[in-house]
């Protein structure tokens, strides 16, 4: 199977303008990520705030050039941002993100927003354009009369539908969804998740789905990569990673999801603070919070390697069998 998107050794770093006292520091937001997305596949990215999920997503779409590493789309290297070729590619890859109100232009009607990509990429005009817009509105489950509405007249879930319709207008093959349902209420969240799933299945879209809501990721993704401080620490098929996580961080993450009726027993409570990319611990970046860390963990950086049907980066995978239950 030929991958639709392949990233190798992606690194992104930013210089932070520190205070007048200190010297400017560099933050490695993403620190060596390999990721493959196959046609028709939904890959989930989970991890704590600041672990580099959004940064990775922007690089996968080519919105940001990586500091080092490569992204190739359909076997060809990603063109430099803002080049002519890059602009042509925009029709094929789209981003959907968390805050639908910010993503929409408040002065344009729903129909005008959805038609925008059709004009930009010169896909359709005249009657065909109108037909397309009507079809898109129907596809994302909006009512035809809502075409004349403005974003502020819609509910959060409806706005996210407009954003999705607009993203689909140019018939993309690859979508990055960055926390697409985090701002929505649970009952609405389920509507949008179902919509994304249906669209994905019907059109065979490939998707990278970024979220910190493990339950939603579980529901929509085929494969999941867990990020910690800019690196992937475990990557496996969805069923496997949630049923049998092996990296100590994944284990804690999965067990931290409160389950109805389960009480607080049997949960792994991590000590310590969320990680700070500006002060990355030596060795395994997770070792200050890891409950099975030992001296070796502080010295050696574990590599992401095959282990029992998955990829995981931990020095103690062998001795950490099924400790989480």
């Amino acid at each position: 199977m030929n991958a639709i998107l392949q990233a190798t050794g992606l690194v992104q770093q930013y210089t932070t303008a520190k205070s007048l006292f200190g010297k400017p520091g560099t933050v490695r937001a993403v620190d060596g990520v390999d990721l493959t997305v196959n046609p028709g596949e939904v890959v989930g990215i989970v991890g704590e705030s600041g672990s580099g999920k959004s940064t990775l997503g922007r690089m996968l779409l080519g919105l940001e050039a990586p500091f080092s590493g490569r992204v190739s789309y359909l076997g060809r290297p990603m063109p430099a941002p803002r080049s002519a070729e890059w602009r042509r590619l925009r029709a094929q890859m789209q981003l959907i993100f968390q805050d639908p109100l910010a993503a929409l232009d408040r002065r344009l009607t729903v129909a005008a927003q959805i038609a925008e990509p059709l004009d930009i990429h010169r896909i359709a005009s005249g009657a065909e354009r109108q037909e397309r817009v009507a079809a898109l509105i129907h596809r994302v489950g909006l009512r035809p009369d809502q075409a004349r509405r403005y974003p502020h007249e819609l509910s959060g879930g409806q706005r996210q539908r407009v954003v999705i319709a607009r993203a689909l207008a140019s018939q993309p093959r690859f979508l990055v969804c960055d926390e697409p349902v985090s701002a929505l209420d649970v009952s609405i969240q389920a509507q949008v998740v179902n919509l994304l799933r249906d669209l994905q299945e019907r059109e065979g879209l490939s998707m990278v789905f970024i979220s910190h809501d493990l339950k939603v990721v579980r529901n929509i993704c085929d494969r999941v990569a867990v990020m910690y401080l800019g690196r992937i620490v475990e990557e496996a098929p969805s069923d496997r990673i949630f049923a049998d996580p092996r990296h100590p961080y994944t284990q804690a993450l999965v067990s931290s999801v409160p389950k109805a009726g389960a009480g607080l027993r049997g949960r792994i409570i991590l000590q310590g603070e969320p990680p700070n990319p500006a002060a990355r611990p030596a060795g395994c970046a997770f070792h200050p919070r890891c409950r099975i860390a030992d001296a070796a963990c502080a010295a050696k950086v574990p590599a992401l390697e095959r282990h029992d049907g998955r990829l995981a980066a931990c020095l103690k995978l062998q001795s950490n069998q099924r400790t989480a239950a």
């Binding site: 520190k18 205070s19 007048l20 006292f21 200190g22």
Partner: protein
């Protein structure tokens, strides 16, 4: 800390240098001092002598370099009119200006801020509406109009106060009133919105939820936060202490910096004009520095690096 101070100081100096260079060039390009000072009928050799005396025949960049050399030696030149030291001329006028602007600033602070805070604490009340109305009145009406109206009412019609000049403290009342009313309005409006903004913050709700009496919530939690933006504005006003009186001094024939600048510009007395601009720029830059330090004192987030986590 010293490095931090040094960069601030260097930046301040650079600002002053830029202002002075700009003023230098604009002044040289905008007319011939010889013509103005000596009059249109002056004999040619007098004009030539004047130009040679003040180096006006040299190319602009040479004049500029000479000027910079002077500045570096703290030599601010002499008046082209009466050859007295320019700095002396300017400094002689500063007290008169400050005699107006300092009391006016005090009035703005002592009336504007409390009025704004009071209005914010009693939103939608009669007092609040009153403060809004008066402050709009205060900052929409131009000071030359206000000054003339005050003169008409209190000097011409009622004859309570003198219309101009400087001959005792009561001569200062109308100029100070003219100058402060607008500022009071601006400060009141600004303090009101700063305070309203702060009162809506989650930490105010926390302070209330603690059981703190309302008075303490306002004094200990709201005001220290609202002070940050207010201090910025007060800083601007401090920076304008010397430059802010041009119009009012002209209306009331008050012998301060403002009058001096009007006269010197009209006479193309370059050294004096430049010297005034230097003093004004320096005062503004100083005020900015003060605001920066006040920020640090008021808001720990603006203090720079933390002493470690």
């Amino acid at each position: 800390m010293p490095r931090f101070l040094l960069t601030k100081f260097a930046r301040a100096m650079l600002t002053i240098l830029l202002v002075m260079s700009f003023a230098f060039i604009v002044l040289r390009l905008s007319g011939d001092p010889a013509q103005v000072l000596l009059g249109p009928d002056a004999p040619q050799d007098a004009v030539d002598a004047f130009r040679a005396r003040w180096g006006l025949n040299d190319p602009l960049w040479q004049q500029y370099l000479a000027y910079l050399r002077q500045l570096a030696a703290f030599d601010f030149g002499v008046s082209m009119r009466d050859h007295s030291p320019a700095l002396q001329l300017v400094m002689d006028r500063v007290p008169a200006t400050l005699a107006l602007t300092v009391p006016a600033l005090m009035l703005k602070i002592c009336i504007g801020i409390p009025a704004g805070v009071y209005a914010a604490l009693h939103r939608e009340s009669v007092a609040d509406r009153g403060v809004i109305m008066l402050s709009i009145f205060g900052f929409t009406i131009p000071s030359f109009v206000l000054g003339l109206v005050l003169v008409l009412v209190f000097a011409v019609k009622l004859d309570w106060l003198p219309a101009g000049g400087q001959d005792g403290w009561h001569y200062a009342i109308l100029p100070i009133a003219t100058m402060s009313i607008g500022g009071i309005g601006i400060l009141a409006r600004f303090s009101r919105s700063a305070m309203i903004e702060v009162l809506g913050q989650p930490y105010i709700r926390t302070a209330m939820a603690k059981g703190l009496p309302w008075r303490d919530v306002v004094w200990k939690h709201a005001l220290p936060n609202a002070a940050v933006p207010i201090v910025t504005l007060v800083g601007f006003m401090v920076g304008a202490l010397i430059a802010g009186a041009v119009v009012v001094e002209s209306i009331f024939s008050w012998p301060g910096i403002g009058r001096l600048i009007v006269v010197s510009v009209a006479n193309r007395d370059l050294a004096v004009v430049q010297c005034i601009l230097l003093v004004i720029a320096a005062s503004m830059v100083m005020a900015n520095l003060l605001v920066d330090f006040a920020y640090g004192a008021l808001d720990p987030r603006l203090r720079g690096a933390a002493p470690g986590r």
